[in-house]
Subunit: 432 residues, 2 copies
Amino acid sequence: MLKDCDWIVTQDSQRRVLRNASVRIHDGSIEEVGEISPVAKDDVIDCNRKVLIPGLINTHTHLSMTLFRGSADDLALSEWLEKKIWPLESGLDGAMCYHGALLGALEMTRTGTTCFVDQYYYMEDVAKAVAESGLRALLSVGLFDKSDKPATVRGREHTLKFLNYVREMKNPLISFAVGPHAPYTCDRDTLLWARAIAEKEKALVNIHIAETGGEQGKFESEGKGRVVEYLDRIGFLCDRVLAAHSVWLTEREVKLYGKRGVRVAHCPVSNMKLANGGTAPVPEMWDAGVPVGLGTDGPSSNNGLDMFDTMKMTALIHKNVRRDPTIMNSQRVFDMATLDGARCIGHEKDLGSVEIGKRADLVLLDLRDPNLIPVHAKETLVSDLVYSASGFNVDTTIVEGKPLMVNRRFVNLNQEEISEGVMSSIARLFPQ
Amino acid sequence: MLKDCDWIVTQDSQRRVLRNASVRIHDGSIEEVGEISPVAKDDVIDCNRKVLIPGLINTHTHLSMTLFRGSADDLALSEWLEKKIWPLESGLDGAMCYHGALLGALEMTRTGTTCFVDQYYYMEDVAKAVAESGLRALLSVGLFDKSDKPATVRGREHTLKFLNYVREMKNPLISFAVGPHAPYTCDRDTLLWARAIAEKEKALVNIHIAETGGEQGKFESEGKGRVVEYLDRIGFLCDRVLAAHSVWLTEREVKLYGKRGVRVAHCPVSNMKLANGGTAPVPEMWDAGVPVGLGTDGPSSNNGLDMFDTMKMTALIHKNVRRDPTIMNSQRVFDMATLDGARCIGHEKDLGSVEIGKRADLVLLDLRDPNLIPVHAKETLVSDLVYSASGFNVDTTIVEGKPLMVNRRFVNLNQEEISEGVMSSIARLFPQ
């Protein structure tokens, strides 16, 4: 039981903020919320001077890229990819991705993210790390067309093998997603194959769409026109598609997203850092009924996994671009990191708010930290979370009712061991 | 003595990063840097698994505005000022500003800022709080013209009274600055009066210039033309002027800054949050030889005082606006928060780097925190500081050789008392 929280930001349909309230958890889900008292069987966490919020949902990342964090910054996109990231990735192995994913999981636990969507290599190893961490995740193998047909076929086989692997894990917190990398790295056949698998398995299609102006230019030079219109023409767009980035969309394309039920993982920090120059048309997406969640993107294009940082950046970049301080208010941004993130991954019924019957993915922030003083009123608390808070104000992280960090101490993960695993991976990956 | 730092980011003229090095402090200044051993008289702080950096310099804030933090967000600038901030400010008193300043000092100590430039009301009370905190500061009373002449005269008298107050404090860490608020709130006489006082007292002129498009519009409608050209015409610009914001400058005005020796406090978070829509032309300022430091601005337009957050935002917004990921690299940004900040306040000889003879304003970050793993090489460490680090990774803050926080425990300030003082101030300021 989470007892006597100073505040609970419920994110229920009325966006109620409760004062001096508690939460009882039973069997991984939220059983009671409000003025309740502990009974003998309850494990009690004292939440005095703390604010309880729903666990944050990171809708787009590449966890194992923690290994590259800080190693290739301030470069043009092509140089970043071709001279740094791709050569490094070609040297990866499963053990490295495992250690990198553990580090990412540690950082997410530390900073209040309880659920995330990932795409990368060696996903069996990533899944193993995620299972150890106790976090909730939707995991996909990155699927690329290769110049030789057999390699392309092997890619698809790898996706199916991973599907099987996840199925056999029987871990209710880990789900399979299909991961066609992008429209410019997967042809029509691969995209439709991915969509078909997703339909069959009731899974998410986790894909990058319209991330850069260059991608759109490539499509035009190949005579395929607008990227999103092309994807619709071939019958790819549907309500299983979670489209990361989606920066370079026309109004017509935004409406196509709305019509087909596409969801978006908005990654403003990564977009700004790689200097795409664009900002996803999120207000127009809202008008078109498109669910928009937030993503950090991988830790080598951010370079962190702190969703509080991403929330603040989201509010600021849209205000700046539109010259309108009211356009992206703190409640809308907090919705993106919680409820809308849950909608993006098809978990709107069980994640994203502190309500009876939802899974107990919960986060506590310490209101004694100087940047969270003062709290003026329940009406301004969400503003404090978006503009003042840091992930490092999080002191307790709970997933499916299980504490993963309590009072800033990790329960499952061993920080020292993870650090050593990462350093040994890096010693192999970056030969001196 | 700071013993066995994993790394020292010296910020010396070669931007050397030292591995496994120590710093000896004597009488508030840095006596030795490198491979040195403790002797009997040394107080030793073990810096294993830590990185030592120069204390960060926040060149523009209004510390006591911590009291308003989170109370008035997502509003248009005019509504924010006229309906929220100004009415609140009219209810302030010295005790409130004292408590607000203590809270701001607590947050700065927590997040690695050792020196700052402030402008506000009740600055005697702010100075008292700063002296208790042990931070270094340049403090100015906000000077505004009033509709009645006697009030304008009283404002000037208040500045002179504060000058005397600071002089009598005899605190080597606290300096007086003149604070004419802005060209649109101070007339020619007041501006030139402020400049003359600054010349006489060898003090800084701390002023807001060209913050909004509206300010420029007002000047044009009054037939005064471009703001900065006007300031030059009346003979105000000189090398004592620290111009906060400076967003709306033409190339010619940037060159005027360079020619007159004006320095700039760049405040990107505040500019984005208030949705000015512009970004200060920092690369052009560099070309013109203008020193540019970073400022958080007040905690009700940010809403924090974490300079790491401001560093990251600075890099990202310029990359995004220029569509060039190379334009604002991490070293340039880190320079702004250290060496260039020191130049902005006329302390280039004694602050901003870890070098023998400089004042011992030093900060340690804990490299065991998950977001600071891995450190790849000395060449990438500054990238980690700008893109990955949070102020909450700071675990030790030292000013003038005196530890203000060690291993995340405050030495001078009492967190609980400060929180109570702020809450009681707010109870008076925001009547229910």
